[in-house]
Amino acid sequence: MSMPSASSTASAPQAPAGWREITLGQAIREALAEEMRRDSRVLLLGEDVAEAGTPFKVLSGLVEEFGAERVIDTPISEAGFTGIGVGLAMTGMRPVVDIMFGDFLTLAMDQIVNQAAKVHYMSGGKLKVPLVVRTTLGATRRSAAQHSQSLHAWFSHIPGLKVVLPSTPYDAKGLLKTAIRDDNPVLFFEDKMMYQLRGLVPEGEYTIPFGVADIKREGSDLTIVATSSMVQVALAAATELEQLGISAEVIDPRTTSPLDKQTLIESAKKTSRVIVVDEGYQSYGVTAEIAAVISEGAFYYLDAPVKRLGALDVPVPFSPVLEDLTVPTPAAVVEMAKTLCGRV
């Protein structure tokens, strides 16, 4: 199923037949509600997930429909309730654990990395952990260094985990449903600045497979690989570049693990020029792996080195004038693209 090409940033005057326009936050909520209706083993756990519906209000209404037995408010115990999620998943339930800010994943690393990711392998395939950890990433919310990180590279590095980075309501809903049905631990990262982003979703049921990159925009001169929050940045840059006569292809891997290397490499072979944009810290981040994969896979086709644009390698500062300097912008992508295409 492919999405009709309606602008996903501006509200379309009228959604095409069979499609509805919703926000990314609604998409998450719908995916959860649908899966909870479909499968009584699905339950939610986290801080302030019930009546409060999380500080982002993404879960509002779920406790009213599914009750406090399935939408469970926990103490502020990220390690503890993630571990509880692992135990639930190992014994026949399909928990979705909510880690409010991605920065708090630091507290649950052992449960995610040493337990959830390894149980299936260590048991020789006998036990499995169908656990979803929903969490957030992204800066520019003026929340400073401990509430603004994008730590998805860490989990992409760990075999046994899958990592999902939706960038539109359509992707968010379809990927979250897939995550819940997956028999493995899945880290699902939502950009907290994107909950209000609007976009089309089909009326009916759908899922999106992992490991399939989405070409968000076709182009021929340059490939911009962008993840999560950076997809809109890349699309904005592509629009600007069009004015300059540069045709940019924008590809969203959607999952960093598994990674759809083939689509990335093919696009690179086609355009010969690549920029990789991601909101995690640049060094040793997701841009490194993607750049390395493309540099190797499309080596003989590249006209220029693969360029990377991650977050500045600094703790995220509070002051808006500083914080805004840490995150890749359309202007920065455009600059880089111009250089890459010999336009400066």
């Binding site: 302030d48 500062p317 500083l322």
Partner: protein, 341 residues
Amino acid sequence: MVSEHITSSEERPLTRDEASRARERQFWLSLYEQMLTIRLFEEQVNELYMSAKMPGLAHLYSGEEAVAVGVCAALRRDDYITSTHRGHGHCLAKGAAVDRMFAELLGKQPGYCRGKGGSMHIADQESGNLGANAIVGGSAGIATGAALSCKRRGSGQVVVCFFGDGALGQGLLYEAMNMAALWQLPVIYVCENNLYNEYTPNSETTAGDMLARPRAFGIHTEEVDGQDVRAVYAAAVRLVERARRGEGPAYLHCNTYRFYGHHVGDIQRSYYRSREEEEWWKAQRDPLKLLGSWLREQGLAEDSHFAEIERRVRALIEAGVRFALEAPYPDPQEVAQHVYA
């Protein structure tokens, strides 16, 4: 921090009794003034938020002033504290200046952290504040480590670790308390039990008997009315002296209440706590009112004292906000500074 030596401005030499009464008045009025400073500081923060002059959010301390002020009054300036996301009160009570705090909250260059920390990370090592922490319970280890440092250096300093009742959910706290007890460290864990973890009452998040927890780790534990600054101060003095004498860690459980929402944006609260409950605390358990009434009853202070204090505090706050609003933002190149020392 409260200045320990006072002088009288009156003409004739004071009798012993008069001197002690004057000292008492001055001491409690100074605590009153600190609490009022926090209260009006927070009112101003809320206004800055409402008028979209402050970036991000802030967690207001209003209602809990007696805890920070009562505890910090028992500390030396070189004693350490660690603070929380709801940390403006701790910071002010330990001796930070209003203007540089406002500047930090606005992300300005003269702020305590050059605008890099903001409300949730204010630190001021000059007054011994090792920093607010946006990770619930995140400073339990830091405070305990600072206490080990004090003990190793034989500096006679003590450390106060402030945290909310929600931090009782974090395993780190128990790990740290265990080591503090094992090694008899000069650290006082101060729990600000304001009944809620964000939007969830702590009866839903906290099993068993809260006070039994530190006790189980061999930590001397006391409970106090966190709205009564005199009670808090008395308990803090006891525990600080104990710690300074090398008698080990303590835990002080302060029952208190936040008058505002979880943060400045938390306006609709009725789904998790009733307006009646809020009104009751504000009417009956306001730490400023409680201290004010007592001072009046004791004949230690009258309207003019309070009016004078309020005038002074309002001027301070006003000047502080103006300073902050007019202050420059940090230079863009500062973004890459201070990543490494």
